[in-house]
Symmetry: C2
Subunit: 180 residues, 2 copies
């Protein structure tokens, strides 16, 4: 299972920092050439599963325009230029919820689309989280902070309250690998 | 938390069925207007967590060009035009692995990107799966079928063998909601 070779890549669209699209000409290990394999370049993002000493998860509930409705999500957002994923995760947790934590662990990183890329998700577990400030949101990201026990979070997943793939992944991964 | 209004949408790029990009002008509930909110339209896809009577998961290991390396994934792929997600899931399980199952359950559906959309993932649990044919792959999707116990799957996740967000999500969600 050898990697494919990219023979050429043409930029079709660029709208930084949100999205760029390339058309690649790729050569498969078999020698066959595909003329139009699209690569969608999008920014890396982070999501943080923050857990309080009382074993509650610190989540936010807000409207998501991509989804077209309200969703429950872990705090998170785009990694800014020159910022490490961990720093972005710590910044987003504090900005969105007013929480901070002394104990951080990376749960993994995952490419969004197996064919077209679409950016990379970095997930973190933040233990012993506590509130140190007020969360700040602007009119483009209205949200309420909610603390949920693990059984309540699983119920929210079952009921469809978690509507976004990255949010679901971060929460499920943390539950599978363990919060302790 | 009211929905945003889309005032106009301009098509910037279309490469069906893979990707189209629109620039939307949107009005927030506050009345503020954003001139350039990008919507990336991509096809819906499915992933199937198939479990054998011996409680092993039916997975595939193959090269993924978006990731640039080999990854362990549940079988899955794009929903074809006019096909239901369940039908797509049954087709992909059979095509990729040669397995079929009598007992299907939808685990949920999730929008890939909270701002730009990027398609929707539909996840299924298929219980009592057994092999009824040979899996067929072509030179654009070379893959090996692997059966893994639950502890082995969790180890694969920890080790980074599962590199794609959709794959991770389907596996983790099935483990959180339960295989029974």
């Amino acid at each position: 299972m050898r990697p494919w070779k990219v023979l050429t890549a043409s930029l079709l669209l660029t709208a930084p920092p949100w999205v760029s699209v390339f058309r690649e000409k790729v050569e498969l290990p078999s020698g066959r050439v595909l003329d139009d394999f699209y690569r969608v370049v999008m920014p890396d993002f982070v999501a943080v599963v923050a857990v309080t000493p009382g074993r509650e998860l610190v989540l936010v509930r807000g409207y998501k325009h991509g989804l077209g409705r309200v969703s429950v999500s872990p705090p998170g957002g785009l990694v800014e230029l020159g910022e490490s994923p961990l720093r972005a995760a710590q910044r987003e947790l504090l900005e969105e919820t007013g929480y901070a934590a002394p104990d951080w662990r990376c749960l993994g990183q995952f490419v969004v689309d197996g064919n077209r890329h679409c950016g990379r998700a970095h997930f973190f577990l933040a233990r012993n989280a506590s509130q140190v400030a007020e969360g700040k949101t602007d009119d483009a990201e209205e949200a309420q902070v909610e603390l949920m026990s693990v059984p309540r979070v699983v119920r929210a997943v079952r009921r469809g309250e978690v509507g976004l793939l990255g949010s679901l992944s971060a929460i499920s991964l943390a539950l599978v690998l363990g919060l302790d």
